[in-house]
């Protein structure tokens, strides 16, 4: 039952990203070419909703579903890993037009050649695991 809850959230996530056309290579290309506000609008409103929601959670000390205080973990400090990793991901995002969520959602829409991107993404994750200790963070 617990997993069903998350499965349902996933369904909504998949529907929203598809209907927002955020899974489309075209929309990502258009965004990076600065030729449409659409994607920027989506990201900006999502963050604005998030910031307001998180502030309310913090100010009102809202408890989670089990009644425990909600604790948000801060990201580790660092610079190189965020900029370098971010840049590499950005190159991939611009090339194949999808981030890790849409890779899966596109499978559902029937764009099956996305499987190659998924295999690549798993390979890339694996490579990072192997090279991790040799990289500056």
């Amino acid at each position: 039952m617990k997993l069903f809850r998350f499965f349902s959230i996933g369904i909504v996530f998949g529907i929203v990203l598809t209907k927002a056309e955020a899974i489309s290579w075209y929309r990502i290309y258009e965004m990076f070419m600065f030729q449409s506000f659409h994607m920027y609008g989506i990201i900006a409103i999502a963050i604005a909703t998030g910031v307001i929601g998180i502030q309310i959670i913090k100010k009102k000390k809202i408890k989670d579903y089990k009644g425990f205080p909600i604790q948000l973990v801060d990201k580790d400090r660092g610079f190189v890993r965020y900029l370098a990793g971010g840049l590499l991901f950005g190159l991939g995002w611009g090339l194949v037009g999808c981030c890790p969520g849409p890779v899966f959602i596109l499978l559902g829409t029937g764009a099956f050649s996305i499987v190659i991107v998924l295999v690549g993404a798993l390979l890339g994750t694996f490579l990072y695991g192997i090279l991790k200790d040799k990289l500056p963070h």
Binding site: L3, F6, F7, G10, I11, F13, I15, V16, T18, K19, A20, E21, S24, W25, Y26, F32, M33, Q35, H38, M39, I42, I43, I45, I47, A48, T49, G50, D64, Y65, I70, L72, K75, D76, G78, R81, Y82, G86, L88, G90, L91, G94, L95, C98, P100, G101, V103, I105, L106, L107, G108, T109, A111, S113, I116, G120, L122, G124, T125, F126, L135
Partner: protein
């Protein structure tokens, strides 16, 4: 019906994505899709190659459930919640740019045939492009510790400076790719 079947407005879509992130926080989880790639590596035995993959993947079952749901969501949205004549209303300038790159216009598709069509995928150049794109996504997100959902949405919502650096990186990479590298490939 038109509202439901057409392109959802960016404000509605963005709001819903923000709510999804908050609902996950309420359930004691962190919104982040790229973590699933690591979990899947562990499930396939990557823990034998690197300590980075030594974790109990069962603790991540909730996130894998989201992935499965997302696949079904994509299916439902594109087969039952879309107009048969679905077209992406791109900026005419974008279509013009695509023309110059010999990339086909949307015409009812989510992704261009020039990149995802089988004719291209079955060529060495086509499949290598998709594979390299995937490797960059997998490697980059793990190096940066998150992707669009983990850093741009979750991280920035919690005003995390590392996430801001990562998102700036995402955009530098994307801009370099779209403006300079794509014209070289196509």
């Amino acid at each position: 019906m038109e509202l439901l079947l057409g392109t959802w407005h960016w404000a509605i879509s963005g709001f819903l994505i923000g709510i999804i992130m908050l609902v996950l926080v309420y359930f004691g989880k962190t919104f982040g899709m790229s973590s699933n790639l690591r979990t899947m590596c562990t499930m396939m035995g990557a823990d034998r190659a690197s300590d980075f993959f030594k974790m109990d993947w069962r603790e991540q079952k909730w996130n894998l459930a989201i992935v499965l749901g997302a696949v079904l969501g994509g299916f439902i949205a594109s087969y039952f919640l879309s107009d048969a004549n679905m077209i992406l209303h791109l900026n005419p300038k974008t279509v013009e740019n695509l023309n110059q790159l010999n990339i086909d216009a949307p015409a009812g598709k989510w992704v261009p045939d020039a990149i995802f069509g089988w004719e291209n995928v079955l060529s060495v150049k086509g499949s290598t492009t998709l594979l390299i794109g995937g490797i960059l996504i997998g490697f980059g997100t793990r190096y940066a510790g998150g992707c669009t959902s983990g850093h741009a949405i979750s991280g920035l919502s919690n005003l995390q400076k590392p996430s801001l650096i990562a998102v700036i990186g995402f955009f530098i990479g994307g801009l370099i790719m779209s403006h300079f590298i794509l014209p070289l490939i196509f």
